[in-house]
């Protein structure tokens, strides 16, 4: 019988024939921590009795969640992590370099790799055909110490994509639609494996957006097969030699098959306070917003800023709506400056935040006030997520966020096209 992508990668990395449901021990190609889960990981590592990292060159610390730090305690966490980096000889990406998941995609993850990170959105690297999954501090501490981890091989859902995005519809709309259809726990413990003719037109930036949010349906991993688009991305990022063709076998066993025709999609959003509370933008138009936030590991890439810049160029943000922009990495920010996107966004009244997680998780740079509403391009809208349980968060594409920032209310981006 054929194997799914998840089974194929985990078979290679466990040196045995792994099938869904098996528990296997796999080699870890990249283990990483960030500044809100890293300090506990460092403590767990020290408690575990190990002194050296199994693979210092394949271990990375990212300082991105509190970047730069808004509080002395978080600054001290950064001091701790920098010290651990120096002691152990692992790589460190300091404040200002960007969001861990973006930097993993730009610099590390390759097809067939096993990537574990102390962050649930580690799953993002599935866009490059890496078995990437988020774990807690103890599990990642063990990965740092042993260079391996135990995993249950997940059953897979095949997500078959046909057609092409219509104007004003983006990868974010696809993944929100999928989460609405599957439900926030519908793929709990499962792998989502993407396939179909639509992939031939889907950029890595778009795949990263989709893979990033697979966890919001409960999935353990969101995997894309690899193709020429993957190869070109790896080449552009200096690791063309890491490319390998990777796809599921014919005859692989899927627990469910979900087919989506992209032609049929329209702009979507998640309503407060659940990611799977999904509706078409057209049904929610007119809700007043005080903040629009474009950024995060879901939608802070160059293509996202390009779309937003095109919509706002020559216009002004609504006088009562703040427009926050956080590029996902330093490279994204530099390219956005070179191409004039930053000029267009700031010209429209946007505030440019440093590359990093920014306002996404409520610890700085755009904390909401009571009864305020934010339209965000992030991946979570749980109550209190952006620092205030009395605020509301809607999730949508960068185009919807940009159009809504101009009008001051939730707006269908197609009205600007």
């Amino acid at each position: 019988m054929g194997k799914t992508l998840a089974e194929k990668i985990l078979s290679v990395k466990s040196h045995c024939e792994a099938e869904a449901g098996d528990v296997v021990i796999v080699d870890v190609d990249l283990a990483f921590i960030q500044d809100t889960t890293g300090p506990l990981t460092v403590r767990r590592f020290k408690e575990s009795g190990f002194e050296a990292l199994a693979r210092p060159q394949q271990t990375v610390i990212f300082l991105d969640h509190a970047a730069p730090s808004p509080a002395q305690q978080l600054s001290n966490d950064h001091v701790l992590l920098r010290g651990f980096g120096e002691e152990t000889g692992c790589c460190i990406y300091d404040v200002g370099e960007g969001i861990c998941h973006q930097l993993v995609a730009e610099n590390f993850a390759s097809p067939g790799d096993v990537v574990v990170g102390a962050d649930s959105h580690t799953i993002t690297a599935g866009a490059l055909g890496a078995f990437a999954t988020g774990m807690g501090s103890s599990d990642v501490a063990v990965a740092l110490a042993l260079g391996k981890i135990w995993l249950r091989v997940p059953e897979s859902f095949l997500i078959n994509l046909s057609g092409a995005f219509a104007r004003g519809v983006y990868a974010k709309d696809l993944v929100l639609y999928l989460i609405g259809r599957i439900g926030a726990d519908g793929a709990n413990y499962k792998a989502l494996e993407f396939s179909g003719e639509a992939l031939a037109e889907m950029t890595i930036s778009e795949r990263l957006t989709v893979a990033n949010m697979a966890v919001e349906a409960g999935a353990k991993v969101g995997l894309f097969p690899t193709d020429e688009i993957t190869r070109d991305f790896l080449r552009e990022h200096g690791r063309g030699d890491k490319y390998k063709p990777l796809s599921a076998d014919t005859g692989a066993n899927y627990e469910q098959v979900i087919s989506v025709n992209l032609d049929q999609l329209e702009p979507m959003l998640s309503l407060p306070h659940a990611v799977d509370n999904v509706r078409p933008v057209a049904q929610v138009k007119g809700v007043r917003i005080q903040q629009a936030f474009i950024g995060t590991c879901t939608n802070g890439r160059l293509e996202d800023l390009a779309v937003a810049a095109e919509i706002v160029e020559g216009k002004d943000r609504h006088p009562t709506t703040r427009l926050l922009i956080a590029p996902a990495s330093r490279q994204v920010l530099i390219q956005a400056m070179e191409r004039g996107y930053i000029q267009a966004l700031v010209g429209a009244g946007a505030i440019i935040l440093p590359p990093g997680c920014a306002a996404c998780l409520g610890l700085h740079q755009g904390v909401l006030g009571d009864d305020e509403v934010c339209l965000s391009t992030a991946n979570r809208n749980f109550r209190g997520r952006m620092g205030n349980p009395e605020a509301e968060i809607y999730l949508a594409s960068p185009a919807t966020a940009a159009a809504s920032a101009i009008r001051g209310e939730i707006t269908d981006p197609r009205e600007f096209m």
């Binding site: 962050d119 649930s120 988020g134 774990m135 103890s138 599990d139 501490a141 209190g384």
Partner: protein, 177 residues
């Protein structure tokens, strides 16, 4: 009663309690100060949880059993979520379903998570839990519930009191079945 068979009293929570509900991101600056962080456990989603759990565990007669609905612990990978639940005095978690990272994180703290039909448990019910057989008896209603088995490696981790004590002892990960 052994560690494997114990009595407890239920504190019931709703469906879809996220890790942001359990310990909101706005307290991220307290993550290296667990006793301070733990004071804010479930503070928005279930006000009064911390004081209720404290009062209950102070009696010493029964463990606090956190009983949740579906998809407990969805969201972030923050291990601090089960850590602060355990620090609140919770001895075991029952849920209809649990998000995978949270489930694993809780077991890694030595905090048992059993999946069962929690609609049949009310707030304040007295429960008897047998970790070996996976049998839960609701002593208040007389209803018996069973839960599925976890993989042997998870049972082994739980038996050692969590992943770090497990690794400290075995110096490795070992699959046993």
């Amino acid at each position: 009663m052994s560690d494997l068979v114990f009595k407890g009293r239920a504190i019931k929570l709703a469906d879809n309690i996220s890790t942001d509900d359990i310990i909101p991101g706005r307290f991220a600056h307290l993550r290296s100060n667990l006793p301070e962080l733990a004071k804010h456990v479930l503070e928005d989603a279930a006000p009064g949880f911390a004081s209720k759990a404290k009062a209950l565990s102070a009696t010493g007669e029964a463990k606090v059993i956190l009983v949740a609905g579906k998809n407990l612990g969805l969201g972030s990978s923050r291990e601090h979520a089960p850590v602060v639940i355990k620090m609140a005095g919770v001895g075991a978690i029952l849920a209809r379903s649990a998000a995978r990272i949270f489930f694993r994180n809780a077991i890694n703290q030595g905090l048992p998570v059993l999946l069962c039909d929690t609609d049949r448990i009310g707030d304040g019910d007295e429960l008897e839990i047998n970790l070996t057989s996976g049998k839960i008896t609701n002593l208040s209603s007389g209803i018996a519930l069973t839960c599925g088995k976890m993989p042997p490696i998870m049972s082994a981790i739980l038996k050692e009191g969590g992943l770090i004590p497990y690794v400290r002892k075995h110096k490795d990960l070992v699959i046993t079945d």
